[in-house]
């Protein structure tokens, strides 16, 4: 059982739980914060959580593919941050505010 191993040996389960917790933190941020930039940061957090589980699987299943995926995810996350922040700056220039509700004006 996990409980006996909890403080004696670290296994895949530990990393997965850590990843899940980080993911939930990120998700809470996405759901609850109003500042668009904090939202973007929360998304980065979620992506990182996924990366943790990727690397953990890669290590414990002995496959390099997981690390490649992490590499790609990082790249895409950075690209997303760049474009997201560029958008945020545009919004800020227009409304002097980065509250997420201003992004609703993008519809229609």
């Amino acid at each position: 059982m996990l409980s006996t191993d909890l403080f004696t040996q670290i296994g895949l389960g530990h990393y997965l739980v850590l990843s899940a917790l980080l993911f939930c933190c990120g998700m809470a941020g996405v759901l609850l914060r109003r500042n668009a930039i904090v939202l973007l940061m929360s998304i980065e957090l979620m992506l990182n959580a996924v990366n943790v589980s990727f690397v953990a699987f890669s290590r414990y299943l002995g496959q390099q593919e997981g690390q490649i995926m992490v590499f790609f995810v990082m790249t895409i996350a950075a690209a997303e941050a760049a474009v997201g922040l560029a958008l945020a700056v545009s919004i800020f220039k227009r409304f002097r505010e980065v509250n997420i509700r201003y992004f609703e004006h993008l519809k229609g």
Partner: protein
């Protein structure tokens, strides 16, 4: 294990810094209260109270471009370490050309940025 060493030295450095700051605050001369002294230092003239400090968008544009090019450079690192091995394995040309294609995109991006004057500071 290097990680333990790194963590140890980080903790040590923080402790060292805090200790020094604490020492300095203890050893420092007594404070002489003067409201003007604690104002922001702006070369002596009265502090300008302005709501928004105008900061050029250029700074942040530079940072965005930095991210992008930084990642492209990071991509070259695994290539650079394996290049000689690939040569020995007889796949040199293939690996060289695949990185060549990537570099072509990189150069095109750089060229575009220069061309579009995104890197000009006025």
């Amino acid at each position: 294990m290097p990680l333990g060493g790194v963590l140890f030295i980080v903790v040590f450095l923080i402790a060292f810094g805090c200790l020094m700051l604490w020492l300095a605050s203890k050893l420092g001369t007594q404070k002489i209260a003067d409201p003007v002294k604690y104002q922001s230092y702006e070369c002596g003239i009265p502090v300008q109270e302005k709501k928004d400090t105008k900061i050029s968008v250029k700074f942040y544009l530079t940072a965005i471009l930095f991210i992008i090019f930084d990642i492209e450079i990071i991509f070259m690192y695994p290539w650079a370490t394996t290049f000689k091995d690939s040569l020995a394995a007889g796949q040199g040309l293939y690996v060289l050309l695949s990185m060549g294609a990537f570099l072509l995109i990189f150069i095109f991006g750089l060229f575009w940025e220069v061309k579009s004057k995104a890197l000009e500071w006025d």
